[in-house]
Symmetry: C2
Subunit: 536 residues, 2 copies
């Protein structure tokens, strides 16, 4: 099996070469008019972690590892902060043990060991958290990170109900590989798809492929099977229910604090055959936003309805920097999509959008390729490639002092113009002060009848060695602005350790108390992912 990089997105083979890092340095040096000499990538041989403070009981020794590389891989996610710290070989608080249970009995045994010993037990999916979702806590005598990669099977497919029973540790590609021979797909593609798992998606309320209607993984969950320190929590498979508050909706979003999801019945679907796509340009981001709002309020339910501001449209889709770009995509296994996209394009044109009829691509799947190609051509295809490649490109930019990150939220339409203005201002202001300038851009990743989910990207030239402090100041300013403007601190990246201060402002205080009470019931010794969502 390919070995994961301890610092970069992907495997060791995805780590950038010195040459690639030089190319990135030249690009950034030109853009920011500075001199840059890249620091070379770190050497795994230089890893020197704190010695493990605990060892597993002999009954669990077979599934536990404690070597430096493995523990380093399980210390940080893949945010900017994570990448910088790992690149700098800065691992002051790694887990002591990395456990890889092969079945539920071993998950139970691991929780029992941690619970009875007072060790922190950290569930680990694909390792792509951008919010420090599995970073070990301080103040524990031992930390055991439970990597669920062994629970990697689609166990059962119910084709009449279009549902599948799937293990929680399965990675995105394996999940799709196992559904594909049966003609089905989950069709959930977060940007982390390659390095994230079903269980991870569920406990972080992941947002995926669909830009409208049912966007979050929440709505695809039919039932959940979760091991807690107190025992098994399993909900009944149901297409819908009105029997009390939904048990699943407490497990969904629990970020590893209540239990470990070993299985879930998920709603799956036939693979799309009919597709249509269009990239509509707008003179301003605001005009594009108005089109997106009208399209979603018309309930045409496009699978894709992503709006890029002029900066993003230039960077990701090859536009000239003067126009915003609305990417529309429709898809269906059975129904031709031409009517729908033409209706959406009509709305877009009414609000000032421009597209030639020839650039509205409609495919009936007759090419025999169920993946079609309407989403892989023109500006839509350019954006798609850029989206998938983005995490890898960031690998090249480490070791330069360059500061860049993304932030996402959701807000009602009435508050959106103010949020756009104040968050951009906060970011630009902070970049100016901290980095002496920089760039801010925004896109909509999802749109709802009552508001968009905006996704901001910022970058600035920082100072090597000071990136983390610089980042922290920018992040704080922008997060405060999101809160003040009525947004959520996260639409689909989760809370983690990173967003706790703002999450605490956002949620009802009584809900925090209620969640603490739930936590005490399921995890009486407070060992599961301590510090996430609530204090012990």
């Amino acid at each position: 099996m390919a070995k994961r990089s301890f610092w970069a997105w992907g495997h060791e083979s995805d780590e950038p070469t010195v040459e690639q890092m030089k190319t990135a340095a030249v690009d950034i040096a030109e853009r920011y008019n500075v001199d840059l000499t890249p620091v070379g990538p770190p050497n795994p041989a230089d890893l020197s972690l704190r010695k493990p403070r605990i060892s597993p009981p002999s009954s669990l020794a077979d599934i536990c590892a404690s070597d430096d590389h493995d523990r380093a891989v399980h210390t940080y996610g893949r945010s900017f902060r994570d990448r910088i710290r790992a690149f700098n070989l800065d691992f002051p608080n790694p887990p002591d043990v990395v456990a890889r249970p092969r079945n539920e009995q071993e998950v139970e045994a691991l929780l029992e060991w941690c619970s009875s010993s007072g060790y922190a037990a950290i569930p680990f999916g694909g390792g792509s958290s951008t919010v420090a979702g599995f970073e070990p806590p301080e103040g524990y005598d031992g930390v055991v990170t439970i990597d669920l990669e062994g629970l990697d099977q689609v166990l059962e497919i119910d084709d009449v109900s279009r549902s599948a029973r799937i293990q929680g540790g399965i990675y995105g590609p394996a999940l799709e590989d196992q559904l594909r021979p049966h003609g089905f797909t989950l069709r959930h593609y977060p940007q982390s798809f390659e390095f994230s798992t079903l269980g991870g998606w569920i406990v972080t309320r992941s947002g995926g492929h669909y830009a409208t209607n049912q966007t979050h993984i929440d709505d695809m969950v039919e039932s959940v099977r979760m091991i807690t320190p107190t025992g098994l929590w399993e909900s009944r498979r149901l297409p819908g229910s009105g029997a009390g508050p939904s048990p699943d909706r407490i497990a969904i979003g629990s970020e590893g604090t209540l239990g470990i999801i070993t299985e879930a019945w998920m709603r799956i679907q036939a693979r799309p055959v009919f597709r249509a796509s269009a990239g509509v340009t707008f003179p301003t981001f605001a005009a594009g936003a108005e089109a997106a709002r009208r399209i979603v309020q018309t309930k045409l339910w496009p699978a894709n309805c992503r709006l890029l501001d002029p900066v993003e449209a230039a960077a990701a889709a090859g536009m000239d920097g003067s126009s915003a770009l609305l990417l529309l995509g429709f898809e269906s296994a059975e129904v031709p999509q031409g009517e729908l996209i033409r209706h959406a394009v009509d709305i877009a044109r009414e609000t000032g959008g421009t597209i030639d009829d020839a650039n509205i691509r409609v495919s009936d799947g007759s090419g025999g390729n169920s993946d079609g190609d309407t989403g892989r051509q023109g500006s839509v295809g350019a954006w798609r490639n850029s989206f998938l490649n983005a995490p890898y490109m960031k690998n090249h930019q480490a070791g330069l002092g360059f500061v860049t990150e993304t932030m996402e939220t959701a807000v009602t339409w009435d508050r959106w113009p103010n949020l756009d203005q104040t968050v951009r201002a906060a970011l630009q202001d902070a970049l100016n002060r901290v980095c002496g300038g920089g760039t801010v851009s925004c896109r909509f990743t999802h749109v709802y009848t009552d508001g968009p989910a905006p996704y901001f990207t910022f970058e600035g030239m920082g100072r090597l060695g000071a990136e983390l402090e610089m980042y922290d100041e920018i992040k704080k300013r922008a997060s405060d602005a999101i809160m003040a403007a009525g947004g959520t601190i996260t639409h689909h990246h989760a809370v983690g350790r990173l967003h706790r201060p703002w999450y605490d402002q956002q949620r009802p205080e009584l809900f925090a108390q209620a969640l603490k009470a739930v936590k005490r019931t399921l995890d009486p010794n407070g060992v599961l992912n301590p510090g996430l969502l609530i204090d012990a």
Copy 2:
């Protein structure tokens, strides 16, 4: 203001006349080949309730009532059991006080009074519960029913976000009346619409108008404002979020056990203009079910996709009793619906359905009447009238010993044929033994990609005075069968006192413990609707 009947569906003016009851008796007597002499309707003057055991503090006296009629109206909902008991003037455990707060301060003061005195505090919406959702508990020194009818305003409309801030005690018709002048609608029409409230819908996870896609009120809630004995619980207005488990999803379905919903921001929409409808006949219920499954899995998202078995099709839509009927309806404020309904009809025909092209009704709203008429003609219109009138017709059947009720569930498609068979068998078997025969019928009220929500109706000729015991036996047999076949004990009627035994089997036991912990946090003295969902 019209006075509510203490026993019948509706107001006192809706109570049946002696003549109407005679007509119903003749009809039932003919069908069951028995002699029937109806007992006349009860006289409000004969109400003689237990004297109130408590009186409100003087500061609350203005908003409290304790007369017999008012307390009788607030004792029972409108299930079969409720109607029989009220008809028989059987009110052994009425509330002591009926309070009508006019604002949040008075809600707080009422909860404070109950919490400090140990009196049960029972939130009351429109009074149409069919599951004993607000029936006073035994074992309390005092019971205060809090009728929220004073909180009856749409407070704010955000037309750009298509959302409205609405008070929890508003009845269905008033809610729509207040949205209509702005061109909006919530479009949530449970059968109880006339006598149920927004807050009631939210805490019971009401299912309404839409038969596919977003069917439950759950998905229309943008945020919730709830007064608990511990304080205010208010979530942030957000179109979507991934920040921890959803606070709203704990309030939704809480059945008055955690707090009183005083306001909610709700997702509203433009009133439909384009409509299409069709009634497709099938030789069997199973063939119709296959069509419904394929239509919903194709994700055409019809607003109506109700399937009536031959018995229901005959009774409610004037069919001849040999065919099942699939009622399809599409609607949109902006998009013509002809293509969609023709696609759905094509699928229905492929699975054995029959309809003349001339009977596919498509309206572009050009008549200028935004209510259109496509849903009010033919078999579709006949069913609509029957649906709205059904609760009133039951008023006529009291006092005869006649036993009739509905039961609803949801189940995955793979388990549906067995559930259909075993629940029908259980009902028929119980009717045969208890009533010496009777009728069972079924319809789908909602359909999901992974399963239908079946709705059973049963009736049999019981014995006057013994109806409740007879009903209990039938209900128990059928509910056990639903559980055994993998269904939920309720899809949209809620749990109440009626469904507790089966709800306890269905939910994860650890979820019950978690919910108890939440309850202790929000309602430490256990005064809010005691006995619902969990034991104190």
